[in-house]
Amino acid sequence: MPPKQPTWREFAVTSILPLAALAIVIGCGVKGAAEKEGSAAQTLTLGAYTTPREAYGRDILPAFATSWRAGAGKAIAFEESYLGSGAQARAIAGGFEADVAALSLEPDIETLASKKLVTHEWRGGAYKGMITNSLVVIGVRAGNPKKITGWNDLAQPGIKVLTPSPKTSGGAMWNAAAVYGAAFLGHIGGRPKGDSAVAEQFLREVLSNVAIMDKGGRESMLTFEQGVGDAIITYENEVLAARDAGQAVDYIIPDATLLIESPAAVVDVYADKHGTRALADAFVEYLTKPEAQRAFAKHGFRPVDAQIAKEYADKFPAVKTPFTIRDLGGWPNVVQQLFAPGGAFERATPTGAK
């Protein structure tokens, strides 16, 4: 019998139907697995940004597990995920079922709130939902050979500056907002206060000295450690972590700089789904307790608890004129004015060939 070519109908039966069946099986399989996870032993899934990874992994999570076991008599396990803050927010919004989100900045928790994943008023409590503070600072080479003393020096010709791109790193928004804000609030010598055009011009001058925009704060610090650049706009905790790791990096705290406030919140929908509500609530509460606050301080974050902050006054020098994102109109306003497409940051990015 001569072999025959299969007809279109045979093709449909042998190819498309099995594919459809396969798709259904896969779909159901995933759902089944997710349901099973919910009824398993208590696992707390933490979706965090990258910077405090060591603080969580080495100190806070083990200490919390110990105290939970002492209190509730049950062992717990953790699943930890660390990504850039914006990426983590999008991952959780896109279906990564974290019970707790600990992110760099308020708008990233707001992303989860707008997706109805965080449904409670997360800005409650003594610290308004924030668990750590830090500062935007200027990292310099050991001994400060370029004699950099403040924001103004970053705009001097010939100074090579590093900062991550706020397009790829939500955390980098702090940096740009600090430079812009210092100028807007009248802290750059000789420039008038309260003029957004002046602030944008100052941002432009600093950005024209930026030779490298790495994709995140940690990458930027690693590039600086490679010997690239004269100064890096970064967070105080990044510099302290680098110094703890033996890097010869100095830093200066500009007279006026932005206070970085980083939040954490229970992701209501997933915590309820996993039956980990009590655990997740307790964990977020624990983050502002003295024990956790000390652990954060040890890893270079300024405590939000004033009492603990006092204990670490030597490690964290006072700032002359700190300002917060609220002084710039709050995050929604800052995101809109600075970082939206066509916003001040994009306009201040030099377009010239040189």
Binding site: P6, P18, T168, Q226, E346
Partner: protein, 275 residues
Amino acid sequence: MSASARPFPNRGAQALRVVVLGYVGLLIILPLVAVLREGVSQGLGGLWHVVSAPAARDAIVLSLWTAAAVAVLNAVAGTATAWVLQRYPLPGKCLMSWIVDVPFAIPTLVTGVMLVLLFGPTRPVGRWFEGHGLPVLFAPPAIILALAFITVPFVVRSVEPVLAELDRTEEEAAATLGASPIRTFWTVIIPALAPSIASGSLQGFARSLAEFGSIVVVSGNIPHKTLTGAVYVFSEVEGGRPHAAAAASLVLLGAAIIATLGARAIAQRTVPVDV
């Protein structure tokens, strides 16, 4: 293999066919459709609006010209490498041949890290270049260097087999007729190799447009200067603007598909006609 071979003789073969179709469909076609849909979701005008914005345009142009430069570089250096590997007795040739394939096996992020370690301003090599006024890292040369590293194998592996099959008698005839070695090279060898060189460098071109891992580490990522198309796409994804990301992706994808189709057309044209 002729067309009259039994195409689908039994259930086993049919099952295989299903698997293959599903594999290609799920892995390649569905994602392509997804990015296409997102990219044109605001119409062609919307797509153009996004990719003609200065930051996107400059990024895409940078990707196109660096990829083209690397394609030319590969055409010359890759052919020379293939030539040496094929024609010259070389100690350690086996090792050399293996090294050519190494870039395919190295995660490109690692490629970036290697370049930073080599050309960083505190390293001897990097210091030498910087001292001579030629900063390599965080400038277009770094992009070209990374792309060249990653695409080395394309031209070499495409030219080598052709070179191996080349009929030596033609070269001998040319020499007998009095042609100089250089003339023989240009009139006999290069025409025979040209299609494989072109197809290899076009594949390298397409691959270069897609490169992200090494570039994001070595280029500096400054908009309008050193931000490439692929890194721009990443920044739009991270910025939560999927439409802009998809639109720029489509342009890169379009250029890459044209290049690979070109490479295929050239390669097929040179397949000896069936007797």
